[in-house]
Symmetry: C2
Subunit: 416 residues, 2 copies
């Protein structure tokens, strides 16, 4: 008997009608003779509502760990509710089903409440249950920390739950049901030429997730890659008796025809900060970034250039737009200590990334990108590359235009 893990996100369990639709997909797999574990998110909006209550109870205080422990107790209740409801619906359809909370499995995490990582997942009881024909509905996004209390994984954490369950259960595959019918060559809201990708490698998907494609949480792809569990992204809004093929995320060896470029991914949640005239002495850059790390601001690209004044340098970095105000505030507070002259910040930027396994072996991908943008008169502010990704920072007003031009330039417009 093969084991299958299925995951339903917030919009796929937003109300009882959606939960019943999800149940129809579960039923299909069970009727096909599979042992099934299902990981579920909170009903759409619930997590935000619960975080809102916590914020009202006491504003966020990074130093106060006890706060995150309580927030986890509150927020994890969202998934607890959905797990019970889906189990009830499956029972109503005549199936044996039960909900599993993280602490019941047990799915053990580390001690970092609010952004915990999985430490150990003992799937013995869960595996026995599903092999006996009982459907396991697992509350996603959560486990139990070493202090015996509930810990959550951070946003999108149910993907991680699903991938970890699939790995522990040695599942044949992990199906991620969501509100889109697969992973696209670019954001379909930006161009009608965007096409669903049939197969994509873990590495490419990781790069896409890291630059802001919101289909999957990065950690879930890492887990699937490490344990070689094929992930499939598909829509819970398709008819259950005729679901679309979705996108398979798998090992690069399982992809026969590799694209040079697989996707063009825009990220509008970017902002830049330039610290002007920092004394060019050892330790000044470290002081800036240590300060930002301390308050949990994530830094993406960093560029240091000489200032017009000799003995001084300008340091630019990009961060998430959401983190900008905190970053600026933190740097203002240490202005005298670091000894810089002024701060500049800009929200009006976007990061455009082209991603593709084929870059490893094909030259000219970068030059095509730069030439295409130059031809369209788009100025590049920053460039950042990895083995299978090239990212540029440009003015966000030009982002949509740039995406369409690059999508066409790499031949992604053409149906394959």
């Amino acid at each position: 008997m093969t084991r299958i893990v299925m995951k339903f996100g917030g919009t796929s369990v937003a109300n009882l009608d959606r939960i019943r639709a999800a149940a129809a997909f579960v039923r299909r797999e069970v009727d096909a003779g599979h042992s099934v574990a299902v990981a579920v998110s909170a009903m759409a909006g619930e997590t935000n509502r619960l975080i809102g209550l916590c914020d009202e109870a006491g504003p966020p205080a990074p130093a106060l760990d006890a706060r995150f422990v309580e927030q986890d107790a509150v927020v994890s209740s969202g998934e607890q509710v959905t797990s019970g409801l889906l189990a009830l619906v499956m029972q109503q359809l005549g199936y044996r089903a039960r909900s599993w909370q993280g602490w019941q499995i047990p799915l053990k995490t580390d001690e970092r409440h609010g952004s915990a990582r999985i430490a150990d997942l003992d799937s013995t009881a869960l595996g026995e249950a599903i092999d006996s024909g009982e459907i396991a509905v697992v509350a996603g996004f959560q486990g139990v920390a070493p202090d015996g209390r509930i810990a959550t994984f951070g946003r999108g954490g149910t993907d991680t739950s699903a991938a970890a369950l699939a790995a522990a259960l040695k599942a044949e595959r992990c199906d991620i049901y969501t509100d889109v019918d697969g992973v696209y060559t670019t954001d379909p809201r930006l161009t009608k030429q965007a096409r669903r990708i049939d197969k994509i490698s873990y590495e490419e998907m990781l790069e896409m997730a890291s630059v802001g494609a919101k289909v999957l949480q990065t950690r879930s792809v890492e887990l699937a890659m490490a344990w070689k569990v094929p992930l499939r992204v598909l829509s819970s809004f398709d008819p259950p008796d005729a679901p679309g093929p979705g996108t398979l995320i798998c090992d690069e060896d399982d992809i026969v025809e590799q694209n040079i470029v697989t996707a063009v991914t825009p990220d509008f949640n970017e902002a830049t900060v330039t610290v002007l005239a920092v004394p060019d002495e050892p330790g000044r850059a470290a002081a800036i970034f240590t300060r930002l790390a301390d308050i949990g601001v994530n830094i993406d690209m960093i560029v240091q250039s000489a200032s017009r004044e000799p003995g001084f340098a300008n340091i630019s970095f990009t961060t998430k737009e959401d983190d900008l105000d905190r970053a600026v505030e933190a740097l203002n507070a240490v202005k005298d200590k670091i000894g810089y002259n002024a701060l500049q910040s800009d929200r009006n930027v976007a990061k455009i990334s082209v991603i593709g396994l084929g870059m490893k072996s094909h030259a000219g991908v970068a030059s095509t990108m730069f030439q295409t943008l130059a031809d369209k008169g788009i100025n590049i502010q920053n460039i950042f590359t990895s083995e299978i990704k090239i990212s540029v920072l440009i003015n966000s007003d030009a982002a949509e235009y740039a995406v369409r031009a690059l999508h066409e330039a790499y031949g992604l417009d053409k149906a394959r």
Copy 2:
């Protein structure tokens, strides 16, 4: 260091403002040097919302135990949320505080999901925590069943949690904060003459709870009585710096001046059923009440009288108005088997009870009741007595009038 248990019901934690008001009462006890454990209900309306979701997922099916297990997983999340929020608010005020779920204590229950009873409460860890100065905020209404899953106690179950915690922790007292400022001599909505009772015995409070006074869950009073924990009912709507005295529920030996009658308690949630012309043979009455017990219909008073036809009897009983339709339906289904002639039912009845420890030693309480009602022209349909209670069933249209007359007749109108 004395230990105190406090309990806040749904209206006392209905939103963040109310939770902050509750926190002010908790703070007062902690600042007074007490070790404090707090049991909290779900925010007002949450339990109903969650049960509504369960009902939508799959209609109630008494035989289907698995349903109640899942409903418990869903519904218990309401208290989980409140426990985390109150802990957050206490932290914000500068106190050490943490939430405790039933399974974390652990508070063990029996296997009856949805209406579980406490099997064992190991308060070692909880006691150590509160004696160290940490405030324990316990999610009420729930524990962990022998199957390792969450079980709830049924409506009002947080009172039971609080009383059990107080017993296990050997607390000096258990303060029940609610939306009224104490237990009254009768329902204040029926007469302005209703007065708050300063002290009442466990036995009287039990009788009041059993006939529908909704201030406390019966089980919590039983627990407090068994473990001799004084319960105090007081209002969370009073100013925290000047709370009212409330009502103390304690051992009868601690009440110096006992009243002959302490309270007049009306119950409008009553209905009567009369089964006409049941063959007067052994086993017929048993068949009726076994059938009703099987479907969980609670029966209060039963009267059997001779029918006009020889060899037949009429059997009348009262039940809760909410259960009437199910009772009638169940009896209709076995009409041929039981062999009765017809069913009559009446929702238009109320039960009026007079309760008082002094009845044990004073004669004339019953005759005062009957005479008072007779003087007012109110017909008594049924009479039921216990050692410290006399209940009568009357037409509900006359109930308000009867309550006022009895309240005056027993001298409860006079301030003491």
